[in-house]
C-alpha cells in the first residue's frame, strides 16, 4: 500500500519579524526589482521559460524568485510544489517517507543520490534531529522522461547524448527540519509529514526504509533547477529560511583580523547554530568517523552540526586589497535588491517572506551544454559562483571541487556502487541528479520488488 506522504499541511502566518527586515536591507540595488504581476502571491504566474531573454543578470534572479513564489503559492490549500511528483514515483515506486542526506545502507532498496561525493554525512539540528530532504519534478520533466521512455535503462544507454531537457523542465529539492513539540514557528512553513526512522546497522547509522513516523516538518531550504530558453544546463537557484545560519564574516567585516579557526561566527543563536561557535566547529562532517551516535528510541543524534553559511549570495567576498569584480558585485546587489523588494511586496502574514534567495548560477553562454562537461572550474559559469544551500550542501560550501551546483551537476558519465548496475554514459541529461537516480533506480527496481514480495 502506498503511504500517504506530505499530505498534511500547516500554514502558520504571523507577522514578519524585525530581524528579517534588517537582514534583507543591505546591498540593495535600484536596478533589479520584482515584477508587479508576481503579486499577490496567490496569483504568481509561472515564469515564461520560453520567453527568457538571457540579457541581464537580474533576469536570472527574477526567474528564480518568480519560480519560488509560483512554487509556494497556495493551490487548493497547499503550496503548489507539494502536488508535484517525487522522482521515484516515475518508476511506480512508493516512498515510505523522507530521507536524510547521509550515507545510507548499502542495501539496494534505499533511495540514494548516486555520486554525491562529499555530501556524505547527516546534518543534525540543535535538537539532535536529522534534517530531511524531499525531491519533486514538474510535469514537463515527468512528461519528457515518460515520452522518451527514460525509465528504461537500455533506452537511456542509447539516448542521444546531446538531447537536453526541454524548456520548462524543473526539479526541486527541499530540506526540512523536524520540529519539536511546542516548537511551532509563525515564520516558517510547517506541515505534517512522514520521515523514515534511523537505526544503527552494520556499524553505521542508516535509514530504515520500512519504518516511518509522522512529525512536524519545517521548511528550511529550497533548491530550484529549471530549464529556460537558451539554458539547458538549468538555472540553479536556492533559497533558505532567514534564521538558518549566520554568514561567515567577510574580510571587510573582520578587518583588521582575518578569518581563522578560532573566529566566532556569530554571537547569537540561529536555527542551526549555537551562539559563540568558532569557525573550526562549523560545518564539521562526521560521516567518516565513529563520533556520530544515534539513540534509536528518541531518534536523536549527537553531536549537533553547527552550520555557517560560507558565502553570502554564493560568492567569495572580495579581498579588501583588491577591486571587487563588478560582475559579482552586480550579481550580489541584484539578489539583495530582489530579496528586499519581494519581502516588501508580500503581505505581512505571508510565511514565504521569511525566506530569501541565497543565489543562483547558470552558464554565461547560450545553449552551452554538451555531454562530458566536468564543469570543474568557473570558466563558463556566472552568477553565484560559490553557491551552496547551508542546509543541503552544508559540508562542501568552500571546497573548489564542490563549491557550486555545477561541480556535481555536470554531464560526465556516472558510476554507482557494486558491479551489477550499468554506468550512465555522458549525457546532457546527467545535469539532473533526479534523472541519474531514476536511471540507477530503474536498474534496481526488480530486486526491490522481489524483496518487497518476500
Amino acid at each position: 500500500m502506498k503511504t500517504e506522504k506530505l499530505s498534511h499541511r500547516r500554514f502558520i502566518r504571523h507577522g514578519v519579524t524585525l530581524v528579517a527586515l534588517l537582514m534583507f536591507s543591505h546591498f540593495s540595488s535600484a536596478e533589479c526589482k520584482p515584477q508587479s504581476n508576481w503579486f499577490p502571491h496567490s496569483q504568481t504566474p509561472e515564469p515564461n521559460h520560453q520567453a527568457f531573454a538571457s540579457k541581464t543578470n537580474c533576469e536570472f534572479h527574477q526567474w528564480s524568485w518568480q519560480m519560488f513564489l509560483w512554487l509556494t503559492k497556495d493551490v487548493d490549500g497547499k503550496p503548489l510544489f507539494l502536488s508535484m511528483m517525487p522522482p521515484y514515483e516515475l518508476l511506480g515506486m512508493s516512498s515510505e517517507g523522507l530521507m536524510p542526506r547521509m550515507q545510507k545502507s548499502d542495501s539496494p532498496e534505499s533511495f540514494e543520490e548516486y555520486l554525491q561525493a562529499g555530501t556524505d554525512g547527516i546534518m543534525v539540528d540543535q535538537d539532535g534531529k536529522a534534517v530531511y530532504y524531499s525531491q519533486y519534478l514538474n510535469k514537463d520533466f515527468v512528461q519528457f522522461i515518460q515520452e522518451n521512455r527514460l525509465v528504461d535503462p537500455s533506452v537511456v544507454q542509447d539516448f542521444d547524448p546531446d538531447t537536453p531537457f526541454p524548456v520548462g523542465a524543473v526539479e526541486l529539492k527541499v530540506s526540512w527540519k523536524v520540529m519539536q513539540p511546542g516548537d511551532y514557528r509563525s515564520d516558517m512553513f510547517v506541515m505534517s509529514g512522514e520521515v523514515n526512522r534511523l537505526e544503527n546497522r552494520d556499524g553505521k547509522i542508516v535509514v530504515n526504509p520500512n519504518e516511518t513516523e509522522t512529525v512536524q516538518l519545517g521548511l528550511v531550504g529550497f533548491h530550484i533547477a529549471g530549464v529556460v530558453k537558451g539554458h539547458p544546463e538549468m538555472i540553479w537557484a536556492t533559497f533558505e529560511h532567514k534564521d538558518n545560519a549566520p554568514n561567515v564574516p567577510t574580510p571587510q567585516e573582520l578587518s583588521p583580523d582575518t578569518l581563522g579557526p578560532d573566529t566566532v561566527i556569530s554571537e547569537k543563536d540561529w536555527t542551526f547554530y549555537k551562539a559563540g561557535t568558532t569557525y573550526r566547529n562549523c560545518n564539521v562532517n562526521l560521516a567518516s568517523t565513529n563520533r556520530l551516535t544515534l539513540d534509536e528510541a528518541s531518534q536523536t543524534l549527537k553531536p549537533v552540526t553547527q552550520i555557517c553559511r560560507q558565502f553570502e549570495f554564493g560568492n567569495v567576498p572580495p579581498d579588501p586589497d583588491t577591486k571587487p569584480d563588478p560582475t559579482i558585485q552586480t550579481n550580489n546587489d541584484n539578489i539583495a535588491s530582489l530579496n528586499q523588494g519581494v519581502h516588501q511586496a508580500l503581505s505581512t502574514d505571508d510565511v514565504w517572506r521569511n525566506y530569501f534567495e541565497v543565489g543562483a548560477i547558470w552558464f554565461a553562454r547560450i545553449d552551452g551544454l554538451k555531454p562530458g562537461m566536468s564543469l570543474e572550474n568557473d570558466e563558463i559559469l556566472t552568477g553565484s559562483l560559490t553557491l551552496s544551500n547551508a542546509t543541503i550542501e552544508t559540508y562542501t560550501q568552500n571546497q573548489s571541487t564542490m563549491n557550486n551546483c555545477f561541480r556535481c551537476h555536470n554531464t560526465m558519465q556516472a558510476f554507482t556502487k557494486g558491479d551489477s548496475l550499468d554506468p550512465l554514459p555522458a549525457l546532457n541529461l546527467n545535469i539532473s541528479h533526479a534523472f541519474q537516480n531514476i536511471y540507477f533506480w530503474s536498474q534496481n527496481t526488480p530486486s526491490r520488488e522481489t524483496k518487497d514480495e518476500e
Binding site: 578569518l259 567518516s288 556502487k417 557494486g418 558491479d419
Partner: protein
Amino acid sequence: MSEAYFRVHPSINFARVGTSAEFYIAPETAAGKVVDKTTGQFGGLPIKKGTENIPIEEADLRDEKNNPLRQAARFRVFAYDQPQQQYPAEDHGREVKVGDTVGGKVIQDIVWQVHLANKKANNYRITSDVDGEKKEEGVVAYEDGKTPPLRNPQIPGSASDANRLRTLVIDAGPRALSVAQGNGGPVPFNASTPASHVNQKGQVESISDYPFSFPDDHFTLYNPRGPIDSLGEMQLEAGTGRLLVTGGYGKASGIITDGAPPELNDAIDNNKWFDDTSDGPVIATIVFNDGSITQAVQGWIVCTDPGFAPQTRNVVSCWDDIYNTWVEQLGLVPEMFANGQYNASYDAAFDEHVQPIFHAALLQRWNTNLPSGGVNGHNFVASIQPGDDPKKKIPNLKSLIRDPNKPEEDEEGVKMPLALGDAMRSFLSLSPTQYFLLMQWYDGKSTESAPALGEGERLDQVALENCLGGRYSPGIDLTFIVRDVHFYEQNWQGKTGPFRVNMQTLDYSKVQSDKPFLSEGYIPLRSAPVEPGDLCKFMSLPWHTDYNSCATHTPDPNKPKGNNTLYWSWPGQRPVNVYPASQCTFDGDKWNLGGQVFSVRGNEGHGTETGYPQQEGRYQCYFDFVENWQKVGFIIQGTQIPAEQGGHYGSDKFLEVASLFETDGQVVEPWPTAVLPGYKAPTDCGPKG
C-alpha cells in the same frame, strides 16, 4: 660446459627502517594483485623471518618492546642457460644455491658482498631556485649541465670536494659473507666491524684500513635517537644461503653549532642533518668446484622509509615509471614501442596492465578520506573482469583518466588519478606506457593474461611494484632518477638483463685510510656510474620531514585558478586517513567498519591537531615526527588481524593496527577538504638546544 649466466634478483630491493633489532622480509608479492582468489588475499605483505613466503600478521609488526620491526631485503642468485635477448626472457632461469650443479660444475660457494653508504648530505637539494622560487623540477634540474644548489653550503667546495666527501658522506664500507664458510652473520655496517670484500679468488678478505665515515667522526652531533653509528647488517638466510640485508633504525642527527642543534624546518632539504638510510650494490660471486669463479650481475639494496601500508598499491608504482623508461628509451619491448611510437595493434594484458590500476584505485580508500561516491566508483572499476566489454563498463575512459601525453590535462583536478604530480606537473598521471596499455584494452586489444615471467624477473618487478611512483617530490623509496637512462646499465641484452643499476666497479685494493673511498658518483643526465649511496642521496634529508609533510596539499606548482582543494601526495604509500581495527564492531556475523582517524595523530610536542585543513594529519613541528614516527600504525588486510570473534576481520578490509598513538586525534572529514589561509607554523619547534 655450456656458458651459464648468473644474476642477483631482485635487481633492486628495499629494506626499510625500524627501531627493532628484529626484522621481517620484504614482500615478494605485489600490492594490488590477488595472490589467493579463494581467500581474497592481496599481495604486498612482508614475509615472516625464517619462512619462504608466510605473510606477516598483526603480531609480527612490532617486537616485545613495541618497536616496529625493520624490513630486510632478501636477495637470491639465479642461473640462466641462455643470454637474454628479449623481455620477458625466454629462459626463466632458476634459483641456485651452494651444491647445485650449473653447466656441469658444482657451486661450491656463493660469496655475498654489500657496500652501504648515505650521500644525502653531500648531494644537491631537491628544490631548485627557479626565478626566485623553490621548485621541484625533477630530472629537468640537471639538464644543460645544471644542478640544483648543494645541500650544506656551509661546508665549502663542490660535491667532489675531498673534505665534503670525507665529512658529509656516511660510508659504512663493504662487507662480505661466504655461504660455504658457514658464518652467516649478521655482520654490522658499523665502524667497529672490519670492512671486507670478495677478492679475485672468490674469498672473503678483510680491509683493515677502510676509511669508514659516520657523522660523529667529524662533528659534534645532536643525536635525539642515538648516534648514527651503523647503517644496518647483512646476514645469510639459514638453510638457503640467500642474502638478507637490514638497514638503519630511523635515526636523524644534527650538527651542533654554537652549542645548539640545527633547525629542522624544511620538508625536504635540511642542512646539518643526517639520517641512517642507505643504499649500495649487492654482489654475488659464485665459486665452482673447479676453482673457477664468476660474478653474478649485481643487485642493489635501498634502505628507506617504513612501509606503513604495504598492501596499498600506488596507482603509479615505481615499477610503472621504470618500465616506461625501459619501454620508451631502452628498447625493452620493441613490439610495443619502437621508432618513437607505440604499436597500435599491440595487445595489453588485463591481469598485468589493467587490473592493477583498478585495484590500486580500489585500495586507496584505506589510506585516504575518499567519500562514499569515490569508494563506490573505485569498487565498480575494480569489479571489471577480463571478459567484460570495456566500453559498457566505462562509457568514456578518456574523460575519466588524465592523459599523460596532454599537458593541458596536467591541471584538470577532476580526472583520475586524483592525486598530486611531480616535476612541475600539478596532478598525477599514469605513465605513458600504462596509459597506452589501458587504452589498448579499452579499444578491445587485450588478452586476459600476460606471459609468465621467470621467478627472477618476477621478483625484480614485484620489489618495484611495491614502491611509490609518479610523484617524486622526492618520494619514499626511489625518485626521479628512475626516469634517467644514465642510471641504468643500458646494454641489457646478453649477459646483464634489464633494470640493472649502472654500477661503478669498486676496486677495494685502492682503499686508503686517509682518503674518502667514494666520490661524487652518479649525477642525473651524466655518464658517471652509480656508487653506494647514489640512490638514496636524492631523497629527503632526513626522510622524516618529507614523510610528515606529505599528507595532503594543494596542487603545485600550477594550481588551477581558484582551486583550494587538498589532494593526496602519496595516498598509496603514506597513509593519511585510516580505519583502526579497534573501531570495528562485530555484529554476531561479521565485522563492520568503524570510523576513520588520521594515521599520524599524536599529541606529543606541538601535536598534530590544527584548525587548518592543509596541516592536518601531520605533526605541526617536523621534529615531533622525528621523535615519534615509530608510533605510526600499519595498515594490513583483515585476514592478517586475528580476532576472537569471526577469526579475523575479513579480507574486504584493510585496517590500521599496532598504532601507538594514544589519541584518536581530530575529526577526519570526507574529501574534499580545502585550505584555510593564514596558517603560521609554530616558532618554537624542536630540537631544543
